[in-house]
């Protein structure tokens, strides 16, 4: 009896650790270690095939600072991110507001806005590549009807490729974010709106004075998630470009993102050390952007 008691006691003490350990062990090996080791590799001349060629300190970082290709990729990434995220957040907030009204067939509409998110990113890249094709694409065909006679070479220019890629990102994510904002909107007490209506506040005024401030924490969350995804943007531009050298992101790299540049350096250029430098800088960039987001969005409240 006593032995059994002692066994039960030990079991109760050890069991919690046994329960959480699978997560921590696997994450440590395949998540945390690679991320940290990236910093170590970035301090070396490290080749895909030949391996470690010696410690070089911050040389890779110095080279990166003067690497015009990297800066171009960074400009592309940030440009696409802003071009995609700002309209997306506005649209998602408005859509959330619409979905929050009393509607017939609620689940139907919600499924409708989430449908794009079920489509894989690879499929999105392929489908929109055809939609934005220069000669027979449906967008150019439609634009031809409103008087734009010269078809746009969507992949050919910087602004147009950015726009096409932003449309892909927004198509896949706007509905998803609208649902997350809707969830948070539903926890806003209805009386707030009732009171505002009695005071004669317009729908627009209600939107800015009640909806936006109440949604602020969720907007911060959504923006940070969008930042993490946006800074790592890879698949859409890769498959938009298609072709044998898709990783180059267009003839002059006009839509090559930093993540594409990273992969190009690592696997085409076989420079693991240098590519790790890109990865680590990207990581810091995400942290900085996330922090800026939080600060900027905190301001929204103090304005109101």
């Amino acid at each position: 009896m006593r032995i059994r008691d002692r066994f039960a006691k030990t079991e109760a003490r050890v069991a919690p650790y046994a329960f959480v350990s699978p997560f921590f062990i696997i994450f440590a090996i395949f998540g945390l270690f690679p991320l940290i080791y990236t910093a170590w590799v970035s301090l070396h001349d490290w080749s895909l095939l030949a391996g470690d060629q010696g410690f070089v300190g911050l040389d890779n970082y110095r080279e990166l600072m003067h690497d015009a290709d990297f800066w171009r990729a960074l400009t592309n990434t940030v440009g696409i991110f802003l071009m995609a995220t700002i309209p997306q957040l506005i649209l998602a907030t408005v859509l959330a507001q619409v979905l929050n009204s009393r509607l017939r067939g609620r689940t139907f509409w919600r499924m409708g806005v989430l449908l794009p998110n079920v489509t894989s990113v690879a499929a999105v890249g392929i489908i929109f590549g055809l939609i934005f094709a220069r000669d027979y694409g449906i967008v150019n065909w439609a634009l031809g009807h409103v008087g734009l006679d010269n078809p746009i070479d969507w992949q050919g220019h910087r602004w147009s490729s950015w726009l096409a890629i932003s449309v892909m990102v927004d198509w896949r994510w706007t509905g998803y974010n609208a649902l997350i904002l809707l969830a948070s909107l539903q926890s806003v007490p209805k009386e707030l709106y009732e009171a505002a209506r009695i005071d004669g506040a317009s729908a627009w005024r209600q939107f800015w004075s009640i909806t936006v401030p109440m949604l602020r924490p969720t907007i911060i969350f959504v923006t940070i998630v969008a930042t993490i995804g946006g800074i790592q943007l890879f698949t859409e531009p890769l498959l938009f470009g298609s072709g044998v050298n898709a990783i180059a992101g267009g003839t002059t790299g006009q839509f090559q993102t930093v993540a594409m540049y990273l992969v190009q350096q690592a696997f085409t250029g076989q420079r693991f050390g240098y590519a790790s430098t890109v990865a680590w800088v990207l990581f810091l960039l995400i942290a900085v952007f996330a922090a800026i987001n939080v600060v900027l969005l905190r301001r929204i409240k103090s304005v109101n």
Binding site: A12, R13, P16, F19, V20, P22, F23, I26, F27, G31, L32, P34, L35, T38, V41, V98, S101, L103, T107, M111, G112, V113, L114, L115, V118, T119, S120, V121, A122, I126, I127, L130, Y136, G137, I138, Y176, L179, I180, A183, S184, S187, T218, F221, V222, I224, Q232, F234, L238, S242, V244, A246, A259, V263, A266, F272, S276, A279, W280, F283, A290
Partner: protein
């Protein structure tokens, strides 16, 4: 009282056209011959080549599309089962068991949700090479058999779904913690486990970057096969679109059947974050 504002419905219908349009376009193009795809005006209605195009996708010997479908199914299923089990175990422990370091560990779990682990892909590649797993399906499965999001989600659910008295009573009866988990806790967690399973399956099925880098030509997943189809060796658009359709369809079916649960999971996940 339902709203009568017709403008709202007009807006919603426009949104629906925008969100379903590209998928409809994919279906139309998948059902057309190549010369019809490159014609103006672009076809807006279904053609008669759908099944012959799909046949051609499966007959193509370079991309192994049938194999890719099976591979994706296998990888996504294994990852899903593992994520559900490991997340339920950890989620239960964080919600209902007391142990030293619990709060710090939970904070760490939440932190992992915000860290872009994708950026560790170079050491991950080196690690997989060392383990001899690069190129095979294990390399795209192993890193994803746990998920911080899953642990957090199951913890939130376990917290309110399982009364403490139930666990106490089982302990008094002499049940071990493992016994309690399997006979009391896991059955109670099933609704959340189902949602987590759906979300995980969709995420794994659609995963691209890492599989694209590590998998060899003999072991493609659907997404990798799609990128190979469209990689320029073929300019066969109807083949590419038919492949995209076949690769997308399974999830669309899952979505139509379980849409309500999936939406519930996403909305709750956002609310708790």
């Amino acid at each position: 009282m339902k709203t009568k504002n017709p403008l709202l419905y007009v807006g919603l219908i426009a949104t629906l056209i925008f969100s379903a349009g590209p998928l409809y376009f994919m279906l139309v193009m998948a059902s057309r011959a190549n010369d019809e795809i490159v014609s103006l005006p672009p076809p807006l209605w279904l053609g008669g080549n759908l099944f012959s195009n799909i046949d051609r996708v499966f007959a193509n010997e370079d991309v192994l599309f049938g194999q890719a479908l099976l591979n994706s199914l296998l990888v996504a299923t294994v990852a899903t089962v593992c994520v559900v089990v490991t997340s339920s175990l950890a989620g239960f422990a964080f919600a209902k068991l007391k142990f030293r370091g619990r709060n710090a560990m939970l904070l760490f779990v939440i932190g992992t949700m915000m860290v872009p682990v994708q950026l560790g892909l170079i050491p991950l590649y080196m690690l997989m090479t060392k383990l001899g797993l690069n190129g095979g399906l294990e390399s795209v499965t192993l890193p994803f058999i746990v998920a911080g999001f899953g642990v957090f989600m199951m913890r939130q659910f376990a917290e309110q779904a399982i009364p403490d008295e139930m666990i106490e009573a089982a302990r008094v009866d002499g049940a071990s913690t493992f016994r309690i988990f399997f006979s009391i806790v896991f059955p109670a967690l099933r609704p959340a486990a189902a949602v987590l399973g759906l979300l995980t399956f969709m995420e794994r099925w659609n995963d691209f970057l890492w599989p694209f880098l590590t998998l060899d030509a003999e072991h493609p997943t659907v997404q990798v096969a799609l990128s190979r189809l469209s990689s320029g060796y073929y300019s066969d658009q109807s083949l590419i679109m038919a492949g995209t359709l076949v690769g997308t369809l399974p999830l669309v079916v899952v979505f139509i059947v379980f849409g309500r649960q999936i939406i519930g999971g996403i909305m709750e996940g956002g609310l708790k974050a």
